[in-house]
Symmetry: D2
Subunit: 393 residues, 4 copies
Amino acid sequence: MSRKHPGRFHIFIPGPTNIPERILNAMHISSEDQRNPEIPDLTIPLYKDVKKVFKSEKGTVFLFPGSGTGAWESAIINTMSPNEKVLIYRFGQFSHLWADMFQRLGLDVQIEDRDWGTGTPPEEVEKTLKADTNHEIKVVCVTQNETATGVTSHVEDVRKVMDACNHPALLFVDGVSSIASIDFRMDEWGVDCAISGSQKGFMLPSGMAIMCVSEKALEAHKNAQLKRCYYSWEDQIATNKDGYFPYTPQIPMLRALQESCNIIFDEGLENVFKRHHRIAEGVRKAVLEGWNLKLCAQDPYWYSDTVTAIVVPEDKDAKEVISTAFNKYHLSLGAGLTKVAGKVFRIGHLGDLNELQAAAAIQGAEMAMIDSGISVKPGSGVAAASEYWRKSI
Amino acid sequence: MSRKHPGRFHIFIPGPTNIPERILNAMHISSEDQRNPEIPDLTIPLYKDVKKVFKSEKGTVFLFPGSGTGAWESAIINTMSPNEKVLIYRFGQFSHLWADMFQRLGLDVQIEDRDWGTGTPPEEVEKTLKADTNHEIKVVCVTQNETATGVTSHVEDVRKVMDACNHPALLFVDGVSSIASIDFRMDEWGVDCAISGSQKGFMLPSGMAIMCVSEKALEAHKNAQLKRCYYSWEDQIATNKDGYFPYTPQIPMLRALQESCNIIFDEGLENVFKRHHRIAEGVRKAVLEGWNLKLCAQDPYWYSDTVTAIVVPEDKDAKEVISTAFNKYHLSLGAGLTKVAGKVFRIGHLGDLNELQAAAAIQGAEMAMIDSGISVKPGSGVAAASEYWRKSI
Amino acid sequence: MSRKHPGRFHIFIPGPTNIPERILNAMHISSEDQRNPEIPDLTIPLYKDVKKVFKSEKGTVFLFPGSGTGAWESAIINTMSPNEKVLIYRFGQFSHLWADMFQRLGLDVQIEDRDWGTGTPPEEVEKTLKADTNHEIKVVCVTQNETATGVTSHVEDVRKVMDACNHPALLFVDGVSSIASIDFRMDEWGVDCAISGSQKGFMLPSGMAIMCVSEKALEAHKNAQLKRCYYSWEDQIATNKDGYFPYTPQIPMLRALQESCNIIFDEGLENVFKRHHRIAEGVRKAVLEGWNLKLCAQDPYWYSDTVTAIVVPEDKDAKEVISTAFNKYHLSLGAGLTKVAGKVFRIGHLGDLNELQAAAAIQGAEMAMIDSGISVKPGSGVAAASEYWRKSI
Amino acid sequence: MSRKHPGRFHIFIPGPTNIPERILNAMHISSEDQRNPEIPDLTIPLYKDVKKVFKSEKGTVFLFPGSGTGAWESAIINTMSPNEKVLIYRFGQFSHLWADMFQRLGLDVQIEDRDWGTGTPPEEVEKTLKADTNHEIKVVCVTQNETATGVTSHVEDVRKVMDACNHPALLFVDGVSSIASIDFRMDEWGVDCAISGSQKGFMLPSGMAIMCVSEKALEAHKNAQLKRCYYSWEDQIATNKDGYFPYTPQIPMLRALQESCNIIFDEGLENVFKRHHRIAEGVRKAVLEGWNLKLCAQDPYWYSDTVTAIVVPEDKDAKEVISTAFNKYHLSLGAGLTKVAGKVFRIGHLGDLNELQAAAAIQGAEMAMIDSGISVKPGSGVAAASEYWRKSI
């Protein structure tokens, strides 16, 4: 073996994120009998803690093996019937894939394309729902955080217009790269299916689909006709109460999720959000004030506190930046996907992270940009970020 | 916290099994960027090694987040269309659940019930297939190891009768609690979908569905009409070649699986099978010769080398044995499920295990039986097992 | 690499003992700055907890890098001056090595040899001290547990005769293989230097010398003239109060020691002693009643609850038993040392252990004995042990 | 528990250094029997690899529990007799403590004080040795890297003058914070006792004293009269050949040391030195060119590639910088010790480290300096360092 990457690798993709040692150690355990009488001592408090992270008291939690994509599928097949209508706004690779999944699973998807760099427009949702007088739209989808472009949509604003229209559609939220990092309020915002994954704000390895669903979603579940078995809710509703799983769960991941909640509550959920905002704001200052480059997000209204997509000058290739960062500086940046491939690179700044870690990422991105012929002033990124951080920490 | 279980807990359920330290350590790693250029260095050799464990050269491997149940689902939805016909023999809880899944997913399932304690009868399969002159049966299912009863079916014998009938049905094998512990030969036996899970012979935590499928299965996939998305093969066929996943994989589990293959090949796959047989034979001697009790498996033809189900005397309760073993002796035994609940307890003896560990399980089961009023002679179990082991190791 | 030892290796030497996962995980941490302001949050409570294990309120704790042998040296050089007189009874390899160390360090050692299989005889100590009217003997040594022979001396009885003689000598106790496993009472028994190591009852890896010393020992320290530096107490006395070390401590071992104390207190210190006694008693029943063999310990007064030395028949070789156990059954037994080499083998049964683990060791030893031509009845060992355990747990 | 330090803590003291995951995992193992027949498979190759790191073929390795301080003691007591004469140059806290140890152990120490910021002056050594016509000086000490001031002495230059004088004294080198990070050549430079610790270039936790000694040192050992036992070489010389230890070794640390050697050789020993030099040079550019501050090291001849001591302006307090870095930025810097307390802070840059990690440390130090009222331009440190690194990697 050759040692390609001395020192600690800097992982700044928008997930998987850094796994804290407390979580790695919580997973480093012998096998446990998933039917033993002490399992509910683990699972019952865990489900309660996960609900706290979703800010839900009335919700029901489901934990499935799978990435966030698996959570999407579980939400869809458990609440919908063939050919039912869904409204989704598409403005990035992940909202695109979500829309695509609805189609593949046999739903009637009304896809509204928006500029990449914007998000779900509440005013447009309002118009569409108002026009839907027969209430054919069964589900409204909001990608709370479009990971491909660094855009945050405002779920609460969508809720307001749904309420204003008195529209009965279910509200689905993709919170894969936002929940546990950016404020999310299941009950207050009337979200029906909120989905997330383990490898982002929860700071675990990938592999666990984490969902919280409303009573209204459970009601819809009763009549949902899409075929399902493994990801079906009916077998796992009881887990919230008795603590046992219908299949063999990945217990190390359950213990890891408990430790994740412990870590989040040790810091304080609101403090976690503040830290994410502060780090994100520093990264944006590096981009806008230090490097004089543009964000993919078109307006502060859309700025994401978990991922920043940076537009490179038109004649430069973001892929070269990413490749140089990886090979020369041991830094993983996120690539631009499909429409924005080569045009943007992304810095993920979520999960278990502090300012100096972000400084290393800014510095590495800067060095890789200069290496790639992009004209930025050495040290300008961290100069802008650090002055903000010094005053705001 | 009180310390309920000093010392090392003895886990003798038929999965999850003991996780070797080498595997736990292989999983104890920082997050990796699943899109980085070095990922194929991990995945390409891994897929090759997994195929060696399945004894397949022509097969295609799929690794999905999920338990074995998830692997079942993936096999079904990727090869079948609504209302197609399946033949399955039911003789235990897991063959029952498999049949049930086919039904829930909208297939036409011909369920043949057999005594619990027997397995898939080749001669009956032959009769049924011969009668199916229109080749309406699209899939023949064999539960290679029925975990609920400790029964091994002989896949090679089923293959022979399928060949004898010249029947074109796909052959599905549930190898969840057999593959990597009991001999399995994908190519030689003409298996089309072989499914397994990570938490048995592969010695990992639960959470990864491991499948190998034949070229014929891939052909069937092209016309399969069941709806699917997350567990769909089309997005992951390329992974065998380019090494990248369509969704964020659980990289620690991939590294763990590689270490699992390393451990298996270090010992030698055939040596692994021999060790499982030797330990199982010792357990059976303890039951039959030491304790004078009966196995659930009705005939040596059906004996399983990975799990032994022991029938307690009619007036005794196997649940009490299990509960005493757990609480007093820090030993997890498998329960009897549904039909045999309270009538049998099970000793799982697969994965990373040696004779003295099995001796501890035998001794603990014996002590719990005596505590529960079952008349067996102290020390008789290990006396029988150990004399066999002394001579056969 | 070939895989010589599938499954979990059975370690039944009298130390190092099994390391609980909680401790391994507590050690699996990034480096910490040993001078950071949060270090006393770790060390101050740790020193208090260690004192509880020693049952001392007035003592001072010292933690040095080193095995128990290192602790011996620190006790000697910190309290004694060249050519001072020491009284020690020698009845096994470890009391021999202790005596030898006194000599190598330049002390005047009065060695009283006793049969291996007996311990420190209080009545002889009394005679000797009474005769020492000039109080030339500065230190009386008691090996609380002679690991080589499985013999426990009774410190409290020695204390009584010292009090009866009104003799001012310091009382040194080697508690390497007893403290945290067998009752020890620093203050009540008036012990002046009690030494232990990390790899026995404390369940850590080897590498930390753990000592508790009395106020009288600290007084003696002031005038002690033996040369010393690294193991000197003067630099570390303050650690009890301010929590900082004079040299770079092995912080993972400190965190491990804290977790060790947590585990001990979770179970309850007295429960730990009871468990050790119960397991030991089972092992002795296997030897005496099951196998009809003899213990090295000559009388129940001397029986050790942490290690049992078993005498093989005169025409047999204990080394063959040990070698067979290791190679064939993946079981490490302790060898007979020097005088009893080939004549005894030892089972260590201390630390993180339960009855079924001990049953595996008994069974493995039995199988290795039969393989080595020693005539014992198969299953007889666990039969005797298990019946005792069934009734006493 | 409150969560004081989200994200990864940045440890930039000059040891303990970052422990690579490969090493942490190598230590995360069950107890092993230190007398088992497979132990030499671990130890014999390990001793050979350690010698390669010391660049020695003829040397003998000793591994003792202890920090570097313990290694010092072992070297002294194993080669010297009471009142023998030692020559040592003192120019920092660690050369001071070394001199102090010689005194406490009863040697006659000729201490030559030099400015802190300089090192061992070959020309002065030459004068002194020439004057020592009776060869009373038995040992010449060189602190290869004075950790307190960031000063590297040139062992090869001292060797030259010793050869020029034809002086028979032993040459002792303190390589605690240099060996495995800065070039060191045991045999070529004729070093007699080279000592190191585990927690610096070897990237392990603290706790293992690592030494290599020459044949001449072994010869001196035979007549050395200082009292010793635990740290005595005689009991451990054989370990180089048979692989067994005289006391219970800390096997996880031995396995960790093997993995350390593996990592070093994977990268290449010379590449490790180059990386250390490159990172150090970047840090120095940040200090000298970015911040316009002074180094403690007075001349490039003395610059250390493992630790940089930075002098703060006279009216500022380095302690405040350190405290701010720790509490606000989760960064541990090294303090100025005794003479330079409050006047310098230190950045340790050795072990498992890359440029972006060092960038984070530079940035954190800069932010803490600005917070502490020291006038440096934001971003200036990394600007200087990064431009150097961009061109030199």
